[in-house]
Symmetry: none
Subunit: 191 residues, 4 copies
DNA sequence: CATGAATGAGCATTCATTCAT
DNA sequence: GATGAATGAATGCTCATTCAT
């Protein structure tokens, strides 16, 4: 079962899940504006009106998806004490994250879509900042113990690299993809 | 008596630039779909109808902007023979590119917007692929001469890192930005 | 609780008829292009948007009207075996048809409008051809039994005469109308 | 030289002729509403603005064409004293008229288009009525001398038949066309 | 005379949202 | 809860007409 479904299951109501799942697929495939509420309803096999029992607007659906996405990303962080992190833990974390991307590009498309959706930018910004801080805090002890006294910008550049790779993967799907992950891991993890 | 052809041509070009500039600002700030032709016209201080004297559709405006963006990016490539590239050339190229981003974030927003616009994805993909190939070809001799026999994935990961950083910069504008550029340069250029 | 399917179906059909009736009147009075969807909606006392719940385009409304027109014309054919047709049957058929024209000139205006609408000409042509063939087949036995061995062109000239008269009637409404029908019947039926 | 050109030549101004000729072709091919002033200008190889030096509106162009059409139809009447008309004169007149249709279907398309253009119907009606009266007056002596005491409705049915045939010819172009003309002549002329 | 840039009203169509049932 | 008919504002685009040059 893909990770995204797990998260959506936390939302008890089955209808609501159907709506969110349908919206996610359509938003990722066609974009937010190009997806109509009608299409979401049809894909979810419910009536258009019912959507407004669960969500107060189309944008509300998007925001719910976003929150669910960030919850899911939180859960993906390894369950290890930061002070005990090893190279292998980090490598595994990166590989797992990138695998999630391959298996479920919809979520990542959604994630990037948010960057470009200026009318919700302000809502997403704190979520992204918070998530980045979490990763920085999580990885800092490791880099400090390896002699990097100001690891923040180091970690930020790692995240940027992975985000950039994800972006390229979605548009271009070039075959060197796995190779590049390795390159990034070598440059940023084993130091 | 009709106006001379030269003057007409000039007026036409100025108007066209006006429209393009207005559209760029609005597309970057609000997104392509959320920007109406009417808004572009108002910002350019012309009537809606006139836009269609210069562009055959809203999409045509976008594509013109995209093409101009890629032309600009081409021009930013250093005018040096690839075989004679030095570390400093590449560093300078990266710094200049990132400076362009700071000075003109609209263009980059437009660039990323294209990744998320499924209905034009197909039009942009070849442009991006072509541009990436250009950079790869341009930088390959340098990396080969430094002992990297398959430099393609190495260069791709550099581009991904810079793209990722640009993306973060647009949304987050974190203060470590300059620091991260340096980190990336150190990891990917001086090897 | 949603409305029962039967009731919904009924509402739908009534609304559809309302729209079609309004469109027919306007198309006949002002022409297809000179009639706006807005005007149809106003005449049908519904909102413009609702029209698109029932018809996928303005042209779709026109085509529905045209099909219904040809269905009506089919029904007007006498329910007699062609081989048993008498002079009186044909005369009655012609008189009934022309009476329908008097009572409902809109339909005939629509019919002629199609001849002049180059963008739908191709759609209507087969309908007209098919209808003409039907009449030719229907009347042929009668004329053959009266010694006309190649009745097709004879029947075609009858149809042309009636169409021409209808056309004149619509524009000119001259008082000799009934007289002319008689003349045509005498010349083409009683032979 | 086709007859229509001759008529248009009476209008001295060459530019005006160009406009009218272009408009005629476009109106006949695409319909009045579907033809833009721009297209007329392009076909006439002049600027859009110049059209308004010669005609005060698009509709004015149409009306000028209509008047020219009726003038031309007047000229086509045989130059024989009505009292001296023979069967052969009438037959020749009908054959000539129908030949004109074959050679220049544009004019006839325009003629029928007028029937369907309700906003100019009122302007055309007197022209048509006048023309019909002319033919009636012209042919009446012939029919009277053949024993038809009220020839008006007889002549009207002849005109209707020919108009109906013309209409069919334009849309359907069936091969029996020539045959039908003969049938009509036999029924309406040789009595 | 001649041009074509410019306007503004109008058009078909879409769609998020509401609401009676 | 559930439906889908209905609304109305918005959108991209067209085009007859005007007018400065």
């Amino acid at each position: 079962m893909p990770r995204s479904k797990k998260i959506l299951e936390q939302i008890k109501n089955e209808k609501k899940q159907q709506i969110l799942q349908s919206a996610l697929e359509l938003f990722a495939r066609k974009g937010y504006h190009a997806t109509s509420v009608d299409q979401i309803a049809q894909k979810a096999k419910i009536s258009k009106g019912l959507i407004y029992n669960y969500f107060k607007s189309k944008k509300d659906i998007l925001l719910t998806l976003v929150n669910s996405l960030f919850e899911q990303m939180d859960l993906a962080l390894p369950q290890v004490k930061p002070s005990k992190l090893t190279e292998e833990d980090i490598e595994r974390y990166i590989l797992t994250s990138m695998q999630a991307l391959e298996q479920n590009p919809q979520n990542i498309k959604l994630y990037f879509m948010l960057y470009m959706q200026p009318d919700i930018e302000e809502l997403v910004k704190p979520l992204v900042e918070n998530y980045i801080d979490k990763i920085v805090n999580f990885l800092s002890p490791y880099y400090k113990s390896r002699g990097i006294h100001e690891p923040r910008s180091h970690i930020l550049s790692l995240i940027a690299s992975l985000d950039g790779l994800s972006l390229h993967y979605i548009l271009l799907q070039y075959p060197e993809y796995k190779e590049i992950i390795k390159t990034i891991i070598q440059k940023f993890v084993y130091i």
